[in-house]
């Protein structure tokens, strides 16, 4: 039996969470359910006559689509290379920032900057620097003798995706820097000193004491970024729109094409549901891994 005061408190609590809950239910939970539902429906805005239950037909169509495998492969390449590059740069910069340097706050501030500008602006500025005609990076590379003549980095089949990966790394590594820096600052000085007294050199101390302590934070940010990168639409759309010839098309771009260019919402939903499935599988794996480790 709740006291009168508790009852009042509960009423207040409910009143306080209702607005946020409404937003969650109407614009998060309901649409998510809708995606799953639509993925089993024939739903084409251009052809309204075609409707009703589709079973797994949408999924089959999507998987059979000409560029599905390309998009899947691109998504994996895009995600793995981006996250690997971001981690490497993040680690190096975090270690540098963790030293006793003058002007550390300023350096840290500068390194965060790419992370706070809109992706569109970042993408456009890099596109300008990379243009074959008068792009400064092309001109520099020609002058340094790295390439013979200006190269259309974003327009060639074999470099478009890699170029966007490069720019994505530039924009996203600061997040790794900040997280890893926080991790590095919590590494105990005592342990490092003890190891030093025992005769461990700089390299040994780094590999055997510092890195293992970064494991938890590393796993978490890598996991989060795998998801954020895999579902990113903006960067690729702004820089190449998935082209040339689908060579930089990833699954989110494909979802967009199905929905907003072909108006086939059924198939777009099937693709989105598949991505959701991948994500949930990832979560479950991560969860089991994390709990097992905690127990062990």
């Amino acid at each position: 039996m709740l006291t009168l005061r508790e009852k009042r408190a509960r009423r207040i609590a409910i009143a306080f969470i209702v607005p946020a809950l409404l937003f969650f239910l109407l614009l998060n939970a309901f649409p998510l359910g809708q995606v799953l539902w639509d993925s089993f429906q024939l739903k084409n805005l251009l052809n309204k006559a075609e409707n009703g239950f589709a079973g797994l037909a949408n999924y089959a169509e999507v998987v059979k689509a000409e560029y599905f495998m390309t998009a899947l492969k691109n998504t994996v390449i895009w995600t793995v290379l981006s996250v690997a590059g971001e981690y490497a740069l993040g680690l190096v910069s975090a270690i540098a920032l963790n030293q006793n340097v003058i002007g550390r706050t300023i350096f840290r501030g500068i390194i965060i900057i790419p992370w706070v500008v809109p992706i569109v602006i970042a993408g456009m500025t890099w596109t300008w620097m990379l243009t074959p005609d008068y792009g400064i990076l092309n001109i520099w590379m020609v002058k340094l003798g790295i390439i013979d003549q200006p190269y259309y980095w974003l327009g060639e089949l074999n470099t478009a995706l890699l170029t966007v990966v490069f720019v994505n790394i530039w924009r996203s590594f600061p997040f790794f820097t900040i997280s890893l820096l926080a991790g590095l600052q919590s590494v105990s000085r005592d342990m490092i000193e003890a190891a030093a007294i025992d005769g461990a050199g700089v390299r040994r101390r780094f590999w055997h004491i510092v890195l293992p302590q970064l494991k938890t934070v590393s796993l978490t940010i890598i996991f989060i970024h795998i998801i954020w990168t895999a579902v990113n639409f903006d960067f690729i759309w702004v820089m190449t729109e998935g082209g040339p010839l689908h060579s930089s098309e990833t699954l989110p771009i494909m979802i967009y094409r199905y929905a907003m260019q072909e108006y086939n919402f059924g198939q777009a939903s099937a693709l989105a549901s598949m991505m959701l499935g991948f994500m949930v599988a990832g979560f479950v794996l991560y969860y089991f891994y994390a709990t097992r480790k905690n127990r062990g």
């Binding site: 609590a13 639509d38 809109p118 702004v238």
Partner: protein
Amino acid sequence: MLISRRKQRILTIATYLILAGFTLYCLMPFLWMFVTSIKPDDQIRTLNPSFLVKQITFGHFDNVLNNSAFLTFFKNSLFIASVTTVAALLISIFAGYALSRFVRFKGVKLFGVAMMLSQMIPGVLLLIPLYLVMKNVSLINTYASLILAYTTFTVPLCTFMMKGFFDTIPYEMEESAEIDGASRVGIIFRILLPVSLPSLVSTSLFAFLNAWNEFMFGFVFINDESHRTLTPGVSLFKGLYQTDWGSMMAASVLSVLPIVLIFIFLQRFLVEGMTAGAVKG
């Protein structure tokens, strides 16, 4: 002494070199953006580009501000981001308070889990159903569609930030006010919020930044020039201006300006917020 003096010296030099490299890497694009925007065309389209501007021109800025819809886009973004910020803040002050003070109720705990989950649902998966919802209630091409979407995506993060701030304020402060007969809402607005003003500012700047930078929903929900926001607007300049990079870079400089201002205020909080996973990529 953990390492010999000579080694220490080499390490210090290496550290500064690395940091200098990163500084160059991070700032170069912005520098080049700015330099391009104030150069006359013949110095932009040259095989000997230079960071030194011999002749400063504001022609590109003039072009962007007076001959394009840039100002409309800018105002739209400003309006949408501001309304989103206020709405998200109001909602999350209460939700954050509930999560901080009333977790003993099962419903509130469940609500916390729901907020956590919703933070992980990527926008692109909700793009299709949200578009259909907006279409069905005829909100396509309105500010409301974006304000609703952005508020939804910002509320969880703001809620957790507010909860964190409320957690640091001792409950005793409220108790005495309660005895004096103040209402719960009165307590929040008269006692708690004034104490956590800096936190309130940082939370709202985060909300603003997220709404200002968003691209995909703005691109899909808005099809008419008069309601378009800045990020899709600027990306469409690419088709409009073809190779007039001076004007495009001028538009970029102007779009980044508010962020630079926010950044100067936010720097300290930004690091904390990023560590807490606040800014979504």
